[in-house]
Symmetry: C2
Subunit: 383 residues, 2 copies
């Protein structure tokens, strides 16, 4: 049997059959009522999951393209910005800002820590006026989730716009874009939204539009202005040929999310996260990162003494087809990550934990068979 | 009956069922042997259609993203470049170069004209040293095809690198990237390659890599260096999460092209182009643009006196579901365009011509029924 890949990574995540089938539909021409209805429904669905009334712009790109779009549209060379970095994707924001010639200040944490509102307040005082604060919602590399509400309150107080990479967070972890004062929230199709990769999107507040009007960073493909102008035609359009098939899938996925209801979706992620974490703990393993109880998208696990983290990831994939993610950067080999954001239910977690039990046993780690699965079942049964 | 859309536009073009079905396959994780094999096969297939041994980099974006990638990776602000513009997409190159602060000189033609090698030679003398020449292969807006071989010879003679937007040309019209000295050729998935939109690609010559090493334009997502570095890992990767589903489709489409053989594919496009053009002429309509015999991707037609070009496009879509393209920019309402690049055979052209006959008749244009179809059949029967 050619074994299917069982994705338990923090993206891309498994795509529901309904979504895959939608991707097999004939191409909808991107000028006209068919595409207009598609793009409008997708955009409205994205507003729903982002909990925003702001404009949402949609791009054919990875999430990183969305991050770059925020930088290119908001700033001008030499602008001072403050990046709050708690891991790999915080560093990516730093790199993108540097690529565009910004004056980048960094509030940097050890990987695994979460950002603290009081640190942000002090950093804003220390660094003097900055054009914006950029941070992650869920930092995929460590699994930690920042308290965006608290960070947003500090920014509002200081009168500084807030840009949030919510790529692995939105749809898995609560994100109240408008209520928390997030000026730009960035997401992507292949995470909790259950779509295929290829679509990035951003919510843009009125304040962010004002900044965009002043921006002198070069941009063309990722121009928000061009995107909004095309969206406002009688039949909404994309300025450049969009990934129609991926969007057809995303529409279907967003319909599924609306049907389940955002609150229920978020509760499901919380439940699966608890089940995964209890399972991992029952094996005597330690969770990685601060406030794991917030980490509804990803469970990061410390590799136990004497084991090789890369071997765990390799063997669980080789032996059972279950794809976990290793550690990135300084955490390579030191942690592994289990993704449970998107199209997952309880037994998907059970399956992954079973593969983990058997793999750890194979690698010589003492395992009581069924212990992780049992602990997860306990959580799931309580609901 | 809810009528299917019959795409006869110059992109996106109809996607074969085999390709659509491939897009419904489960997601392949983008780190590992499965994706490595996918990206390698796609990249090798793209080299085959581009007739190049140069590196090919693949992006999740529209073709315009590929054009921007060329500009951002090759140049630095203030660099002088020469854009040869024969229409809408030539103008787009100008806009992108200006967005990046280049010193843009333009060899501009009236829309419908093709570029002339002797004009290029004179322009290169007149403008002094330029970093590169940028031009279109098939200019989608007018249907005309530039003689890239001749333009390439001029560039080689002058020692100036050549960047070619071959988005609507590659796979439909002969393009010998290496033999003609094209340093960068840009293509996209949704044209003659029969894929869904969402993938752009570029071939990069050693000379272009040298230029990229010097470039100071800001870039991150579209960085060639990052893309090549990821591709050269033991299992080829993309630096940022790629549109896996679209790539699964593109792989299938490239397999179909290899099976048919590039030469046969190009001959088929030539045949369909002749059939379309003879059909149009049989209606007493006039072809638009110089050297229509080269325009194997698109047939541009002058709107006859007394008729409204927009009405033709609107009615043929409303009445028969056949989607033609109108004129862009100064040609709005003055021409309409029939695309025949990609997954088309003779009877697709016949169907479109029949819809055109009936629509023109409806709009009050004198039509002898069957005349366009008959003329096309004549071409197809001769083969």
């Amino acid at each position: 049997m050619r074994r299917p890949e069982i994705l338990m990574t923090p993206g891309p995540t498994p795509v529901p059959p309904e979504v895959l089938l939608a991707q097999a539909s004939p191409i909808v021409y991107h000028r006209g009522p068919g595409y207009g209805a598609l793009l409008r429904e997708v955009t409205e669905g994205l507003k729903y999951v982002l909990q925003t009334e702001n404009d949402v712009v949609v791009y054919t790109s990875s999430g990183t393209g969305g991050m770059e779009s925020a930088v290119a549209n908001l700033f001008s060379p030499g602008d001072r910005v403050l990046v709050v970095s708690v891991g790999y994707f915080g560093d990516r924001f730093v790199q993108i800002c540097k690529a565009y010639g910004l004056d980048v200040r960094v509030l940097e944490y050890q990987w695994g820590q979460v950002a603290r509102a009081e640190d942000l307040a002090r950093a804003l005082e220390r660094e003097g006026p900055v054009k914006a604060v950029l941070c992650q919602h869920s930092e995929t590399s460590t699994g930690v989730v920042n308290d965006v509400a608290a960070l947003g309150a500090v920014c509002r107080e200081a009168g500084v716009p807030l840009v949030v990479d919510a790529i692995s967070g939105v749809g898995a972890v609560e994100l109240k874009t408008d209520a928390w004062g997030v000026d730009v929230a960035i997401g992507a199709s292949q995470k909790a939204l259950m779509g295929s990769p290829g679509i990035a999107f951003l919510s843009v507040s009125p304040k962010a539009w004002e900044m965009a009007a002043e921006s002198r960073c070069p941009k063309f493909y990722f121009s928000w202005e061009k995107t909004l102008e095309a969206y406002r035609r009688p039949d909404p359009e994309s300025p450049f040929t969009p990934a129609v098939s991926v969007l057809l899938g995303v529409r279907e996925a967003l319909r599924m999310i609306r049907e389940e209801g955002l609150e229920a979706v978020l509760e499901r992620h919380a439940l699966l996260s608890r089940a995964t974490k209890e399972g991992v703990r029952a094996l005597g393993l330690e969770l990685f990162g601060e406030h794991p109880e917030r980490s509804h998208a990803v469970t990061a696990v410390r590799v136990p003494e004497g084991l090789d983290g890369k071997a765990i990831v390799r063997e669980v994939r080789r032996r059972y087809g279950v794809i976990l993610a290793g550690g990135q950067g300084p955490l390579a080999g030191k942690i592994f990550r289990i993704g449970h954001l998107g199209y997952y239910d309880g037994l998907d977690v059970v399956r992954a934990l079973s593969a983990l039990e058997l793999t750890l046993e194979h690698l010589g780690y003492p395992v009581k068979r069924g212990s992780a699965v049992g602990a997860a079942e306990e959580v799931l049964a309580r609901g």
